[in-house]
Symmetry: C2
Subunit: 561 residues, 2 copies
Amino acid sequence: MSQHKYTIGVDFGTESGRALLVEVASGKELASSVYKYSHGVIDEALPVKGKAVRLGPDWALQDPEDYLRTFKRSIPAVLRASGVDPADVIGLGIDFTACTMLPTLADGTPLCLLPEYRRNPHAWIKLWKHHAAQPEADKINATARQLGETWLERYGGKISSEWFFAKALQILDEAPESYSAADRLIEAADWVVWQLTGVETRNSCTAGYKAMWSKREGFPREAYFAALDPRLEHVVDQKMSRSIAPIGQRAGGLSAQWAKWTGLRPGTAVAIANVDAHVSVPAASVTEGGRMVAIMGTSICHMVLGDREQLVPGICGYVEDGIIPGLFGFEAGQSGVGDIFAWFVDHAVPPEYHAAARKRKVDLHRLLEAEATKLKPGESGLLALDWWNGNRSVLVDVDLTGVLLGATLATRAPEIYRALIEATAFGTRTIIEAFRDHGVPVNEFVACGGLPEKNKLLMQIYADVTGLELKATASKQTPALGSAMFGAVAAGKAAGGYASIFDAAQTMAHLKKETFSPNRAAQKVYDELYAEYLALHDYFGRGANDVMKRLKHIKANVRNH
Amino acid sequence: MSQHKYTIGVDFGTESGRALLVEVASGKELASSVYKYSHGVIDEALPVKGKAVRLGPDWALQDPEDYLRTFKRSIPAVLRASGVDPADVIGLGIDFTACTMLPTLADGTPLCLLPEYRRNPHAWIKLWKHHAAQPEADKINATARQLGETWLERYGGKISSEWFFAKALQILDEAPESYSAADRLIEAADWVVWQLTGVETRNSCTAGYKAMWSKREGFPREAYFAALDPRLEHVVDQKMSRSIAPIGQRAGGLSAQWAKWTGLRPGTAVAIANVDAHVSVPAASVTEGGRMVAIMGTSICHMVLGDREQLVPGICGYVEDGIIPGLFGFEAGQSGVGDIFAWFVDHAVPPEYHAAARKRKVDLHRLLEAEATKLKPGESGLLALDWWNGNRSVLVDVDLTGVLLGATLATRAPEIYRALIEATAFGTRTIIEAFRDHGVPVNEFVACGGLPEKNKLLMQIYADVTGLELKATASKQTPALGSAMFGAVAAGKAAGGYASIFDAAQTMAHLKKETFSPNRAAQKVYDELYAEYLALHDYFGRGANDVMKRLKHIKANVRNH
């Protein structure tokens, strides 16, 4: 046992899980290890023997054993790679995709592991991007509006089909026997912590952002659930819990069995579970209001803290204690960002650029970025609406679609690539302005995730479009670092960790020295282009011309006949 | 000398000239020969010795000797290839791009062939697509509106920078010495006929469509020209002619010198010159009202005949005797059609489709057509505005730009390819509806040019979108056939030709047996999509949101600084 103490964060992503071993005093990352889920995203057929069990469109499931294997493989791997003495590892934190939920027995056994439920898709884990519960989400929203449920406003006026009760109601609707057999309905985040510690807890982050819970009002009232479906009236007391643990607490100690499987010491502090995006906020050094954290990857999740309740139309939601204990955590998002650039690169770039990228031995994104960097703002004459994957904030409308305007016979691929980046920056600006207009200040922008790491042009455009100074996290694995930080907080100061996440952030979270400041001339042009973006955003997004919805309707009709 | 008589049509295009030898009695095409202009389109520097003479942006010139070489090479070639006795060739007709004009001396010598003017760009032939006279066109329009000139309405309210007086005024503005030295300003179409026959004539087609002349009112009054520029007051009498010959007449007989150069007999009847698009109308069997002829290539030229004067807003113009003697010829157009498909194929299709086309040994257009044919109308969810090259009719606005709407992460190249074809079909429908709404019936659609030949999907989409039966010309060289027909008319009935173009069309013009009829189900969906197209067309094109113009303005500002 040395003077140095360590903590481990485990980040459960969509395709894989990652462990990161970090020094408590400095935040220095010593080792990381990734386990790729053997069944990945299950979206075609269940991984079962015998006759195939096919899944419907928009289904996305996972296998709980993949999560357990993540612990069993990646924790021993980081211990080995770092050479750290397990006795010096004081804490363990986890973060997860959300809402990713499953039905279990009272002892935590996933229903899908029981032979009699193995071939029932509703017994499996519904991954965050399981989108087959839209009818249930529609019903949840309509019923809430009808009964005047006040919690709806906390979520910008609409809840998503990805969320907890939409998924729960889908199980009840389509597989009532599975619903009955489930003693518990639980977030996978909380389930893995339960496995490690033997203690069932429910974290305030997923409860607040995904299950309509709030610290002051609790869950929606039973009369509301009864109005959805009489069998759902007592769902909270029957299958969930009203005891919600604020993040930053200790869930329990590592069990003897899991100590054996991971190589850690029994009793090692395990933190209350958290969500990948939200756990990144303190890892991006943000534990106070005014500084937006954006997790930038295939999509963007925007988070900002505030010290009081504010209704902001069109955001995903706000939760007290949802990100940092004692503060309100506001969340918004863009449903397509890196995904749109990837679409463009995969499906709309002619061979000459592919050949040039091969010749220069760079990724096609890098080649297009280099070409697009040569252009000045406004030089292409192009303007796009970044709705290739709908609009999550502030219009909250999955039926909106992408637009490219201003094309001429002289338009070339790097110009379109740049216009798409600009469009996503304009989308972020609508979110920042929505927050500001409703009393939530945003004065700084801290980026983390895969995109800022890779694309400097994107960072500069976001700075020029938002007029904010852009910073980026030093860590390439911000969620895992955040989880490790919460592990150190769960261990507590006496054990060599921290008394609070505020203290942990001060020493463990680091930003890069390189920042991106708005260029005044570029800002001026982007202010003009943003005004054009906003006019089209409102025209197509706020009902003046619902052509996108009608095209989708025609498309659906044509495909069904 | 045999019983069979023949006629030759020479079609002067943008890059080359083509001669076609045709049997008078049947319209049977016996031989054709193409001469590629040695200097093609001169748009960078004059083809002169010594220090380079660079041309400005949007300039496009040609060399008159390329036209003469066309006759000298292609006519002997078709005589040789067909084995026809020159004594049996009774007539010769020509058609030309327009407005393609040049300054000459009184004897017809092009100014650019004089050593002292050889290095002066304004002494050369300004090709139809010379677009550098926009300031002059703006002045022509503004002055006409100011003075209330009634002829402006015949051209849909606006004349183009491509037209005769814009080009003439540019010479006066920028090279007054060339303007002074020019005894004549003349369409290249009329100039080549002058060369062949020694007789200077001016045809009613270019005079009417490109030089604001009408049979009833003549040219604009001198006071108008004086208002444009005092030096221009007497331009018509000084450098042109008020004697305009209706198409269908004989211009003169082939000179001895040209008989020697071509191998034809001296005195062979030469027809009054014509324009490539307009001469195609009788070659498409159309000599009466109600049947639209569309020349479909990089752009589309739409022509329809009528028996009375009608003001149709947003069309290119109408001219009495302009297409067929005794009738009004209405013309409209789309500035980007095949050009847009070519842009897409060259600049927005990923390598996998290029590879598949190579593998199947087909052109990429054919591959995308085959893939797009598998889609049903409305299935892609996409809608485009076909303004990659501005809008010629009915908005008459070069500053409009292309739009693609409805894109998702699942959008693929064949869907966009189809959406672009559909957009051009919707553009054609706006033109047809403009004609109908203003008393010019359109009941049938006859297509000619390169596109209908190649793309059956396009033909079917145009039928489904317009609700009209689509027919196509049997000839692949409609303009040259039309010119040959006019050659037979110039020769006259007594010489074995025809008394009129009506008679010539009855026996010489043929349509393909295969026609394209509207599919009722497709028509229904396209009616819905057209309503959406029209809403966006009016929103972006009629002033509700001038975002396209503002983006162009920003782009111009950025590029100039």
